[in-house]
């Protein structure tokens, strides 16, 4: 990130290789449209290129920072699309408050993917479904409760137990 902040294009290319697809996939899950998702992914990397200096290692990994930013941007775009707003979204503001202390050079390694999959497998199917619905959509907890027919307290407790299990699973399987 320091190299990107210093204007090193090769560093930006490496960052793109490591996270570009993941950014687009997350955006596509939220937006349901690939071209828009790729635009959002490019927006996020462009934001990183322009504002890498605002990244704070003490506050989290590069991956977590990027995922927070891309989710927020994709949801923004979804809202503006639903509101039938203008065709082109402005380049965003706040470079995100979460940064990374990460030597996670192997984020996309097969080993890591297996570890995350194993952690996800510890979730009950209904916990996983609620967690994914809360993450990959713009639905509030109360709307999720309404749409799923579950009481609000259950939605909250499922999200909580899912995330606790996911965190514990990641610790157990190799973070």
């Amino acid at each position: 990130m320091r190299a990107v902040a210093a204007g090193d294009r090769e560093a930006l290319r490496i960052l793109h290789q490591r996270y570009g697809n993941a950014l687009a996939v997350v955006a596509e899950r939220i937006l349901g449209e690939r071209a828009d998702a790729e635009e959002v992914a490019a927006d996020v990397l462009w934001q990183v290129w322009r504002q890498a200096g605002t990244y704070d290692r003490a506050r989290g990994s590069v991956g977590a920072w990027l995922m927070t930013v891309v989710r927020s941007r994709a949801i923004d775009r979804l809202r503006s699309r639903n509101a039938r707003a203008s065709a082109h979204e402005r380049a965003g503001d706040e470079a995100g408050a979460h940064g990374a202390a990460d030597p996670v050079a192997d984020l996309h390694s097969a080993e890591r993917r297996r570890a995350v999959a194993a952690a996800m497998a510890t979730l009950h199917e209904n916990e996983r479904a609620v967690l994914e619905l809360a993450y990959f959509s713009d639905l509030s907890q109360s709307i999720i409760a309404e749409r799923t027919g579950l009481p609000l307290g259950t939605v909250k407790s499922r999200i909580r137990s899912a995330l606790l299990k996911l965190r514990e699973g990641l610790q157990q399987f190799g973070r």
Binding site: R9, L12, R13, H16, G20, N21, A22, A24, V25, V26, E28, R29, L31, E33, A35, E38, E39, A42, L45, W46, W49, G60, S61, G63, A64, M67, R71, S72, L78, R81, R84, A87, H98, L107, R113, V116, A117, A119, H124, E125, N126, E132, L133, Y135, L139, S140, Q141, R147, T148, P151, G153, T154, K156, S157, R160, L163, L164, L166, R167, L170
Partner: protein, 288 residues
């Protein structure tokens, strides 16, 4: 709200899903510098990011890079000043030469210029018309594309929700039909004489599912909690739930404790989110 209550809300904060007073209380708590919550929030965000980065999808890295590259080229050009120059120069040259021509124009040349201007004007109008038509067409296609994407997204959500609704009842049926199914019937206790429940456990499928009916709605801030009561371990939390409007619910629970005799299973009323050991009144109880 105190620290413990806010700590319970950290998963929702990590998802950006807190609302109203809870959201404001969390912001104030974090702003006040609670290191413990800050650290836990960071862990949850990392876990969500790991989940997100593992989501399956098709590769589109080349197209993303080409979008980025075009921006980088534009930025480089803008920094060097050449595009601005390139865009300005022809226009000022045209302006200067037009002024010169005007100064030396004769009456005949002026008439010819008028004719030329009319023709040029028509071409310009036609070009403008074509440009507008193209822009309208593109805007219509963008709108159409958006509408289809929204429809697609809505269908995807409906599917996820349907899946969610089916999953609990499907799992109950599956657990009850498993060859090694063990079923524990839960009988009503004093607070809910009309209630009944059943827990189906399949060791082979590694799943346990609870179905209850006739439970009264829990008061605000409370939820029901299912317990496994082991001979050695005592009560262990199995599931936390709130029944629907009709008093029924079907939820997955943890598996019963391994390697010890199960004495009973029971449901108590507890603070929302559940507790580690039962504290409230028992509503249903059954023995294996």
């Amino acid at each position: 709200m105190d620290h413990d209550q806010l700590k319970d809300l950290l998963p929702l904060e990590a998802l950006g899903r807190l609302e109203g007073e809870e959201r404001a209380a969390m912001a104030a708590h974090l702003a006040a510098g609670c290191d413990e919550c800050e650290a836990e929030l960071r862990q949850f965000r990392e876990a969500l990011a790991a989940m997100a980065m593992n989501a399956a999808g098709e590769a589109s890295a080349d197209r993303i890079w080409s979008r980025l590259e075009s921006r980088l080229k534009f930025e480089q050009a803008a920094d060097s000043g050449s595009p601005a120059e390139a865009m300005r120069a022809p226009s000022s040259a045209r302006g200067a030469s037009a002024v010169r021509r005007w100064r030396f124009a004769t009456a005949v040349a002026a008439a010819a210029a008028v004719v030329l201007a009319v023709v040029a004007g028509r071409y310009a109008n036609n070009a403008e018309l074509t440009r507008r038509q193209s822009a309208d067409r593109i805007a219509a296609l963008i709108d159409q594309n958006r509408a289809l994407a929204v429809e697609n997204e809505n269908q995807r959500r409906e599917l996820a929700i349907a899946h969610l609704k089916l999953s609990a009842s499907g799992r109950l049926t599956q657990a009850m039909l498993a060859p090694d199914a063990r079923v524990i019937r839960l009988g009503p206790l004093a607070p809910a004489r009309g209630a009944a429940g059943i827990v189906a456990v399949s060791e082979a499928d590694r799943q346990a599912v609870l179905h209850v009916a006739g439970l009264p709605p829990p008061p605000p801030g409370k939820e029901y909690e299912l317990w496994w009561i082991g001979a050695k371990s005592g009560p262990l939390r199995a599931a936390v739930f709130a029944p629907g409007a009709n008093g029924s619910a079907t939820v997955a629970s943890t598996m019963p404790p391994v390697g010890e005799r199960l004495l009973a299973s029971a449901i108590t009323l507890e603070p929302a989110g559940g507790v580690d050991k039962p504290t409230g009144a028992a509503y249903l109880k059954g023995v294996p």
